[in-house]
Point group: C2
């Protein structure tokens, strides 16, 4: 490959683009890799397209190595299969829908679980056809409420989606492990530092699920890690270690007048002032906060639900919704019509709606909580004695310093990352929905179990840019750089000709070469552009050319060395293995 | 590449798919290359995806050789730029439109003239940035009224669209010629026999335009060729040689009673019976037929237009509409309200609406035509003497045997083809619409002129299948076959192991190998599948294996020869160059 900057469609920018909030966006636009074309829609310019193609090639290769077969589904699909699976409704405004000229409903498919399930139903018949891993690389469309960060969250993006089909749960576990390993190889090859975090599955359905998050300050995803072990999880997926059940030693419940204490802070202040239960060391953690929410289950009447949690924690609506999915919850605000729910003074004793408690509200724990009467609270309300929750729920916020649920020794820290991959053990949600059965090895019908596996390819380009840049510009890893070497003709006295000759030589040796042969551009501008574009190594054909020397610069280390012109090809091919 | 049929997602069909009308559709489905997923939407299965990828690679290579730079635009775009160019309205129901969550109008772009013009406006500034050829390979969506022929006319398909920008008309002519030559190389490499036919530009706008049509009986496009020279054109683009102007020798116009002759046939019969004008050799070609149509110009009031043509020809509405584009015409049916237009008896003498004539209605020609009174016709109505058309129009049907407009010696024959490519000299329609000016070499503003160039990549796969098959199945050209060689393990006594070993050897030698290692499939079924799938050469590992021989079969010629196992790799690599 030999690209000449004198003819390349490239215009580098000195100014920061006004709408760019994050470094990858700023640099990819400034260096001429992408350009905004629509809200959340970017045009890949020649240099960007080269990078994207290399990312695609890495992913294709690793998918095939992992046993994947590449196919390609239509993106525009009729409503029916998505209606059958329930996703037409679940995705709501997040997908683009449209009507064709006959008025039939269609969607631009977010992913293809339905279609791949129907395809497998159509094309397989027996256990001999399994296991199966299918993948495609396709432009996806999502109606993001707030596109942001350039390629990080757009309305149109390139994605690799893969689907595994197995007849046994063990088979699914193995396919999942194989894809997980392939993902680790992919992201390592792309030069992406990443964490694998436990996740919840959301609208995809299914059980086990992990996200691959590229470490980045600008990442939208917050996750927690352990200070001791390698535990990592989305906050939605963090589980709270329950204290062991304990003997009840508390006194019987006593009810106290606590006027004007509808908040935890006002309650703790008054409890200490009045030495409720003989104590003056009340803290928010000793109180039991009860939050009422309205839960909307798909296709059912709304339900009132109370969440009990220690008073020093807030309900995290993202965690609550993840715990309730596919139902969704909002805070209840109809207290006027429910005199049994006394706002600010609710207690779990005798509560008439469903009541789920934080795992810390364990059997035997005693709490200061509402007495279900205006201006009154109760002490020594004991879980398991005075009330019994209908179950536990992970709805309380996760905080730095919380104990690690995996090792128990470490504590949790908060980190940020960019979601670049997501793998799911879906199970039989879709094969059940479409009633897919094949002949099992035992002669009986067997229903396949599925996994699905996604990588955001355009987002991965942005994540690499996020992790690999400095003040001067981008610094591409060799694996996906738009070129292996950037040759700069620094002067006008024969340097352009020499640079083009060298470019031809290196290109013939199999290297990908970008040569700056622009006739009316100063050496300074060329160097600035080279650093902005970020090809890993740069050869400057400059003033020592008459002596037969050129300068080789390493973009990352900024190291420079003089190399005889005749040795450049050998040095470069050796470096690139 | 090494593909094993024991694990490949493949199910060949013995039955013809019920909805398949054309050979390519039937065979691509039966051989497991594609499968219907939606109305006009096909899934590419593993073998089909390999073919499509190879087509893409050929096109990319030739585009880069022709000086093209690859980019990629979003497919989902806001309405505004297409409103500016007028194409939002022009395309009408043929494009898919949708609203985003904010209610803003979007479309799935049919092609990207608007966006590429805006991009060039944004990224160039001076004559030094030209010439420029940009291309992309992208999934396109069109709301076809009647998807048909499988991949031949779908609602979702893969397309290569390219755009050239030049500052001079000569530059555009050169870019057009370069792309035309690239297209010839591409279709030759794909093994596609094709004609290059003159075309009209339709909704794209612009001037010169040619279509590349793959010769095929099932083709939707009818075109004409010359029996003598290499002239070829769409019927819409055929021009009619005008007879030279002649002296007027005809007698003065005479009006005759011709009751009950509203049709040409009835008029000719009566004219001969009554020897009108002293002749009894009247034919339809001697009469002048006048057809009234209602013309709808975009954004204007409908206009009545009369078309004059020899009575032995019908108006071809497709040719008429092509001649009037972007206006559209339908037959007029409001004669009751227009007493000046006497249905069946219209003549051009003194007609009060715009009148355009076929080129055969040349100055000096004399006609038998309507007298603009019920039941009356006139003889010796002479063009240029008794009436003067407002212009000429190409609206008459083209017929086999018509003289060739190019050489004048040959006559026209009708042929059918599949449109696989279309090239246009657009001119400045889009740069005018977006007011794109750059600094010219003379220091003055210069407006770039454009060409656009499309290839239907998925349709090209179908066209290849249409041209390359026999009764037994597909016969892929080497350039895009899913594999170079198909190895069949014909027996069970070690043949599968030997086939796999040979497959490994050939694959390591750089060949693309498909090996039929299915354990529970008979040799007969394997041979039938191999012929259906159509890899150019097949190696049968069969009963002569113990003696060290295999059979090599040529799919196209059906030739078979025994080859020593040790020589197979050498023979194959030599064949593939």
């Amino acid at each position: 490959m030999l690209l000449r900057m004198s003819t390349l469609l490239l215009k580098t920018l000195r100014e920061e683009p006004a709408d760019a909030e994050v470094p990858s966006h700023r640099l990819l636009v400034r260096a001429g890799f992408v350009r905004r074309a629509a809200p959340g829609g970017y045009t890949w310019l020649p240099l960007g397209k080269l990078v994207l193609d290399r990312v695609v090639a890495v992913v294709q290769e690793e998918m095939v190595t992992a046993g994947g077969q590449e196919i390609s589904f239509p993106a525009l699909l009729p409503r029916e299969p998505y209606e059958t699976s329930g996703r037409w409704t679940e995705y709501g405004d997040d997908i683009f829908t449209l009507k064709d000229r006959r008025g039939a409903d269609h969607l631009l498919a977010p992913t293809h679980e339905e279609m791949v399930t129907l395809l497998v139903q159509d094309m397989t018949g027996s256990y001999r056809d399994f296991p199966l891993i299918l993948f495609q690389i396709q432009t996806k469309f999502r109606d993001e409420a707030r596109p942001r960060g350039g390629l990080l969250r757009g309305r149109e993006f390139l994605m690799k989606d893969a689907y595994s089909f197995d007849l046994t749960d063990t088979g699914l576990t193995e396919a999942y492990a194989r894809m997980r390993a392939a993902y680790q190889r992919i992201f390592t090859r792309l030069g992406l530092e990443h964490s694998i975090v436990s996740a919840v599955s959301g609208a995809m359905g299914g059980s086990a699920s992990e996200e691959f998050l590229a470490t980045a300050e600008v990442g939208e995803d917050t996750y927690v890690g352990c200070t001791v072990c390698d535990y990592a999880a989305n906050t939605e997926a963090v589980t709270t270690p329950a204290p062991p059940a304990r003997e009840v030693t508390a006194a019987p419940t006593a009810v106290h007048d606590t006027p004007g204490t509808p908040t935890i802070a006002s309650l703790v202040e008054l409890a200490n002032e009045r030495a409720l239960g003989g104590r003056t060391d009340w803290t928010a953690a000793d109180t039991l906060k009860n939050v009422v929410v309205t839960v909307q289950h798909p296709g059912r009447e709304p339900e009132l639900l109370a969440i009990g949690l220690p008073g020093d924690r807030e309900v995290d609506l993202k965690r609550l919704n993840a715990a309730l999915a596919p139902a969704t919850a909002v805070l209840f605000d109809g207290f006027d019509a429910r005199p049994d729910l006394v706002k600010g003074y609710i207690g779990p004793q005798g509560i008439k709606i469903r009541y789920l408690a934080d795992p810390r509200v364990a059997p035997g724990t005693a709490w200061l909580t509402g007495a279900n009467e205006p201006g009154r609270h109760a002490t020594d309300v004991v879980c398991g004695r005075d009330f019994t929750p209908d179950g536990t729920i992970e709805a309380a916020e996760v905080r730095p310093g919380d104990p690690c649920p995996a090792c128990g020794d470490g504590s949790l820290t908060m980190r940020r990352g960019i979601e670049i991959g997501h793998i799911f053990q879906l199970g039989r949600r879709y094969t059940d929905a479409f009633k897919v059965d094949v002949l099992g090895a035992d002669g009986k019908p067997a229903r396949p179990t599925m996994g699905c596996y996604g990588i955001g390819l355009s987002r991965a380009v942005a994540a690499v840019a996020e992790q690999h840049h400095d003040d001067r510009g981008l610094i591409w890893p060799d694996s996906i750089a738009p070129a292996d070497v950037h040759i700069v003709a620094a002067g006008k006295d024969g340097q352009v000709e020499a640079a083009l000759t060298l470019a031809g030589t290196l290109s013939k040796a199999g290297l990908r070469v970008l040569v700056d042969d622009r006739p009316n551009v100063s050496a300074g501008v060329k160097f600035t552009d080279a650093e902005l574009i970020g090809i890993p190594r740069c050869v400057v054909v400059g003033r020592r050319l008459p002596e037969g020397y050129v300068e080789v610069r390493d973009r990352r280390t900024q190291e420079r060395k003089e190399v005889p012109l005749v040795d450049v090809s050998g040095v470069m091919t050796a470096e690139l293995g």
